[in-house]
């Protein structure tokens, strides 16, 4: 079958699956030498001027394949270090321990961890190692994906789009001199006030696996997809962009729930294989849905920021803002992937 042949061919701009992460890190270092430096074995992307004396260090990390998250968010006003794991596989504790040591300016370090079992376990071991070396380490876990039930019977909601917004907002606070307790409290508040849900039109191919993560027919979509191609709420027939945007936004809005009069940041994220023109089509419907319910969209972000390799699809994240989180969202940022006012 021609179709089967297409799904099993590895047609990617890589040299070998084994060297992909390091090759990309070297590329980032070469392209953004004014912002970051990289170290190998353990693999870490570090803000060029880290450690900054008296500033709380922000460290995140996760599997590769979600670029620009997290390495693209290292720089002024956002992360101090990022630890890229193998594709879709959490990084190892030695990476986070090294990152923590490299960015600790004496004010402590916050680990920003997405809620996946592997990430949690590896960051926990890293925090134990770093504390053993005398570092002050707090951790915050993001879990904003409404597609999966947060219950005793699952590993809990997954961390997705809110992670990007949290890294920006908390990064602004840390840059402004907030202490570790304050930065930690703010991070928890951002996570508590944000929700997301995603969908996929196509699967992606993990290079080491060499084949599509899941099969999906030409006329189907997966609602509630995770950023590693994990199944979501349901597999349904394809609908229009407006209808899809409404399904995602309604699920998110009803979860917290967001109310008339709330001020929010609306974030439409691309999964990696969807062009910006389509993301704006989706954003239009998201914005219309929110304003139609009296929810004020005071800030927005549109683009591929937390991706899933070449998967086509999008996610919608809504974050309820207050004066402080708005201020730190607006604060200067200069990283490979996000830049304003700096």
């Amino acid at each position: 079958m021609a179709e089967a042949a297409v799904t099993t061919r590895l047609k990617k701009l890589i040299n070998t699956p084994e060297t992909e992460v390091k090759d990309a890190m070297a590329g980032m270092a070469a392209a953004h030498s004014d912002l970051i430096r990289v170290e190998y074995d353990p693999n870490v992307i570090i803000r060029k001027d880290a450690p900054r004396k008296g500033k709380v260090g922000l460290v995140s990390g996760g599997g590769s394949g979600h670029e620009p998250m997290h390495g693209g968010f290292v720089g002024l006003g956002m992360l101090d270090a990022a630890c890229p794991g193998a594709v879709f596989t959490s990084p190892t504790p030695d990476q986070m321990a090294r990152a923590t040591a490299a960015v600790d300016g004496g004010a402590g370090v916050l680990h920003i961890v997405k809620n996946y079992t592997g990430d949690i376990l590896n960051f926990e071991m890293a925090a134990e190692l770093a504390r053993g070396e005398g570092a002050k380490v707090n951790a915050v876990v993001t879990n904003d994906d409404v597609a999966v039930q947060d219950s005793l019977y699952t590993a809990g909601r997954r961390g997705v789009g809110v992670t990007v917004l949290l890294e920006k907002i908390v990064g602004g606070a840390a840059e402004a001199g907030a202490d570790l307790d304050k930065v930690t409290e703010l991070a928890k508040r951002v996570n508590a006030n944000g929700r997301s849900m995603g969908m996929a039109l196509t699967s992606c191919i993990v290079p080491a696996a060499g084949k599509v993560t899941f099969e999906i027919a030409d006329d189907e979509m997966e609602l509630g997809i995770g950023i590693h191609g994990e199944p979501g709420r349901e597999r349904t027939k394809l609908k229009s962009a407006d209808e899809i945007a409404e399904i995602l936004t309604m699920a998110v809005v009803n979860d917290i729930p967001y109310k008339s009069g709330d001020e929010v940041l609306a974030f439409v994220n691309g999964m990696g294989g969807t062009p910006l023109i389509e993301l704006y089509v989706v954003y239009n419907a998201v914005h219309r849905y929110l304003t139609g319910r009296g929810i004020k969209v005071t800030r927005s972000l549109v683009g591929p920021y937390i991706t899933s390799l070449e998967m086509a699809g999008c996610s919608v994240t809504i974050l309820k803002l207050d004066a402080e989180t708005t201020k730190f969202w607006d604060a200067p940022v200069h990283t490979p992937a996000l830049r304003w006012k700096a």
Binding site: T89, G118, L121, N122, M125, A155, E230
Partner: protein
């Protein structure tokens, strides 16, 4: 009879070979209910173990197992790295400085490893995880020794118990890890972590059977 550090070395090397051989099988099991990388990750980890363990080949069993654990923690990633890493680190700590290992010590090391896995992963029995293979295996090994079996017999019985535990994960609904997101859809699939744990215990049993055991000191 007692076990030797040479048998522990053989166990690690043997298991690394099995993981390499079964890489696609483990990855396939994981693709059904997880994210399809268990075999790939474990193989990357045990290739790193082989490099790290060769220079300490002549050391005591504790050093061999702790070296194995550190190599896994630093190379596997995912949930498997901290869990298998913790298993070998704790088992190694229990055999610290020992080159001759009594029957009780070896089973005690497995029990310490299991305890570490449970503490780290916070999984209960029947959550559809590696704990479902390790728990009955450790219990059966202790039982066998209590009943007067030799270490070799006890470890063979432990591997059998692990295999039964592994198969018993098939009808279970996953309550931990990425598979838990599938809810009822995880039912009917064998847990990949329980499978790699079974293979680990079978490798131990085979290592004990393959190499001559140390005669019990009669002095």
């Amino acid at each position: 009879m007692a076990a030797t550090s040479a048998q522990i070395y053989d166990w690690v090397e043997r298991y690394a070979g099995i993981v390499a051989e079964q890489k696609q099988y483990l990855t396939g099991l994981d693709a059904a209910i997880g994210d399809g990388d268990h075999g790939i990750n474990m193989d990357r980890g045990f290739q790193a173990v082989l490099v790290k363990i060769a220079p300490v080949r002549d050391k005591d069993a504790g050093t061999l197992l702790k070296t194995t654990g550190m190599a896994l923690v630093g190379s596997v990633g995912g949930a498997g790295g901290p869990l298998y890493g913790t298993f070998f680190l704790r088992a190694g700590a229990a055999l610290d400085g020992k080159s001759e290992i009594s029957d009780r010590d070896l089973v005690g090391a497995l029990e310490a490893g299991l305890k570490g896995v449970v503490e780290r992963g916070k999984a209960n029995l029947n959550d559809k995880t590696m704990v479902d293979a390790l728990t009955p295996a450790v219990a059966r090994a202790k039982q066998s020794l209590d009943g007067g079996a030799s270490l070799q017999e006890a470890l063979a019985a432990a591997a059998d118990a692990a295999e039964e535990g592994m198969k018993a994960t098939i009808p279970l609904k996953a309550l931990k890890g990425r598979a838990s997101y599938l809810g009822d859809r995880s039912i009917g699939h064998q847990d990949p972590g329980a499978t790699s744990s079974y293979l680990m215990l079978r490798a131990l049993s085979d290592s004990l059977a393959a190499l001559p055991q140390q005669a019990k000191s009669t002095s």
